[in-house]
Amino acid sequence: MSERAASVTPTETDEQDDEHIDDSATPEAATEADSSADDAESGPVTTGAESVVRALENAGVEYAFGVQGGAIMPVYDVLYDSDIYHVTMAHEQGASHAADAYGIVSGDPGVCLATSGPGATNLVTGLADADMDSDPMIALTGQVPTEFVGNDAFQETDTTGVTTPVTKDNTFSSDPDRVGTDVSEAFALAREGRPGPTLVDLPKDVTNGETDREPDEPKTPDTYHVQERADPEILAAAAERIENAQRPVLLLGGGVIKGDASDACREFAIEHEIPVITTMPGTGAFPEDHELSLEGAGMHGTGYANMAISMCDTLIGIGTRFDDRLTGGIPTFAPDAEVIHVDIDPAEISKNIHADYPLVGDAETVVSQLAEAVDESPQATKWRAQCQQWKSEYPMTYQAPEDEPVQPEFVVEALDEATSDRAIVTTGVGQHQMWAWQYWTYTEPRTWVSSHGLGTMGYGLPAAIGARLAADDDQEVVCIDGDGSFLMTLQGLSVAVRENLDITVAVLNNEYIGMVRQWQDAFFEGRHAASDYNWMPEFDKLAEAFGAQGFRIDEYDEVADTIEAAIAYDGPSVIDVHIDPEANVYPMVPSGGDNAQFALTEDQL
């Protein structure tokens, strides 16, 4: 590090400024160099760490989330002078979730950093989460110097070994001349094709090492190929199938949002009047207040979506991987339907559900291809009427008598009411997540930020931090959390306070790890083994201790005013909402069950 410090003396930087402006990759970089002569960006690369940070700058990174530590120090030393704003997190898990959420909301890979050993292993949950949900993200981990690698050195972990199963790709960087390009490549890989998390492991001698190599532009390796357009022959057959469908359904998954295909899908559905179901990661791909929307299907999907997906004869799945929480039991999933499956990842085709018409390609491109190929709308008047009838037969309503404890659905609706259509919701995992999904009306993509595939409790608060920094200023960020979930990562409140992030956390507090209790009631004879959390702190007071604003709700008549005050507060606020501890989530399809047989009450389970 002393080498680097010595080499970036102001004199040297000044001398080399002009030269750099000429071959500056971005207009911003040129302007920066113009305006401040001793800006760190303007000098040539002298170390591996500088090449790493230059690669991030070239990729347009604005924020990075991480925790400082021994092996990553050379990179932090360069970040110290960079325009990239580093958010120091209270725990690396929070860094990875914040980066993940940043990627979901902005569409650009979120960046997280950690040191070797425990720093890197703490990122693993967030990497696995991003991997399951195909979120673009890049992790940079420090590593012990190359000469110690393999010797069980202090804070050494085989990070690439540990993270191989939970990353799209990872690299052990072994050369200062190459390290910047490794980061550029990881950035491109995280974003292109099916997005996902990538990792670059950075031994300290490599980041400290001397180099004058500027990183190459973000570009995927030559062996990485993405097919953009679907095969015309299959596409024509699929279009014909859609034209002849009598009971068509569009199933929009998370890939629709990641592929920026929401608009194309909306146009297609509305033009051909095809009922739309969204998967949980696809929430917001189609406006839930539209007549054609049946909202979400699956384990806790609406009754009408589950009826429609079970009875359809043509299922057009776009950017969905047919997860078991959506399909329930495979034998009973859309069993009368011919399946048209659009996905950018060929490995998703016929992985879980056989695709009769596989359309491999980019969601936006393929939907445009389909829009061109489908000449006549399906004759589905009766089917649409049937879908509307299911809506009236299985309404998503709840009872909220004044003399009962506050019902969670009421709180979610009140939060939705108090915020704008573009407000972003983040959640933890559990009952609160399902209520937040069911009772909030989502109309825009990238406004639902949740942990789907991995189901990570503790995701909500760090995700709110990442989402807040990616969101527009006029977008509210609301974290709907559960007491058990919030307790797992609430140290992130210190970060929200330090950065004065305007987020509102509503903890739906039932003093249970509620989803587990619900399952115990249904399948384990009500034996509440380790699910009773009646030792919860008072979250409003805890928030105050962190320097956030604390609120508490016990009664219905406090709900509206308290929410209004919490939303209005300019900074992090936490509402400890004491909800009905007995409230359960319905409808419910038991694990591996038949979607059409969803339970509306406990005795139907």
């Binding site: 069993p335 009368d336 011919e338 490995a347 009450t601």
Partner: protein
């Protein structure tokens, strides 16, 4: 307070008529039966770089694919290595193996070899040498080369198909086998056929007919 939602109970709802099998295929007369596993050879060309073998073997273990053997070695191109995999799975599993392999960034191409491909395995078989004449006769029968002999033992090198090596081991068994080491199968396509398959981009399902029929190569007879 009554808990739950309003609506007709499960038994009063419409029900679909169809079913899918456990592989997600809609059950109709043509594809009703669950497919049986078959043994096949998959040849992958990969970047010759550290970690690639662990990427591939890790993929197989975490996705629970049934792997028979895996061999790896350099090719005529210094930058590329060839991994030869013998797997035993039903067709949808074999299809998934090929697709998942292609997703790995260091994997250049993946190709399932035709049943008539050349397949060879090498085995070193160390037997007791109490009856040298008979041992030599058996070795001769299988075209085995003597690579080492001592007063107590003789070690032979046998190459050939899996069945041939199985048979050789069984026959040598009468003398008392001390140790065996086998390499696993390596394979190349015959004649001018390419062992190196299509690149990942070309390998997606390219025709509606292929997608519909689930047609794959014929079951292998393993030489």
């Amino acid at each position: 307070m009554k808990r739950g939602l309003e609506g007709p109970p499960p038994e009063q709802r419409q029900a679909p008529v169809g079913r899918r099998n456990t592989q997600g295929i809609r059950i109709d007369p043509e594809v009703e039966a669950r497919q049986d596993p078959r043994r096949t050879v998959i040849s992958a060309l990969v970047e010759h770089e550290p970690g690639v073998l662990s990427d591939v073997s890790g993929l197989f273990s975490r996705r629970q694919f049934n792997i028979e053997s895996l061999t790896v070695g350099p090719t005529q191109d210094d930058a590329r290595a060839r991994i030869t995999l013998v797997v035993e799975e039903p067709d949808p599993g074999i299809d998934q193996i090929k697709k998942q392999l292609r997703k790995l960034v260091p994997v250049v191409s993946v190709h399932e070899l035709e049943p008539n491909a050349m397949r060879r395995e090498l085995a070193l078989i160390k037997v007791d040498a109490e009856r040298p004449d008979q041992v030599a006769a058996v070795a001769d029968m299988y075209g085995a080369k003597t690579v080492d002999s001592s007063p107590e033992t003789a070690t032979f090198e046998v190459t050939g198909s899996r069945q041939k090596i199985d048979a050789a081991i069984e026959t040598f068994g009468q003398f008392g086998i001390r140790e065996i080491s086998r390499t696993g199968t390596t394979a190349l396509a015959r004649g001018t056929d390419e062992t190196t398959g299509p690149s990942p981009a070309e390998a997606s399902v390219t025709s509606a007919e292929a997608a519909k029929q689930d047609s794959y190569t014929q079951p292998a007879d393993d030489d």
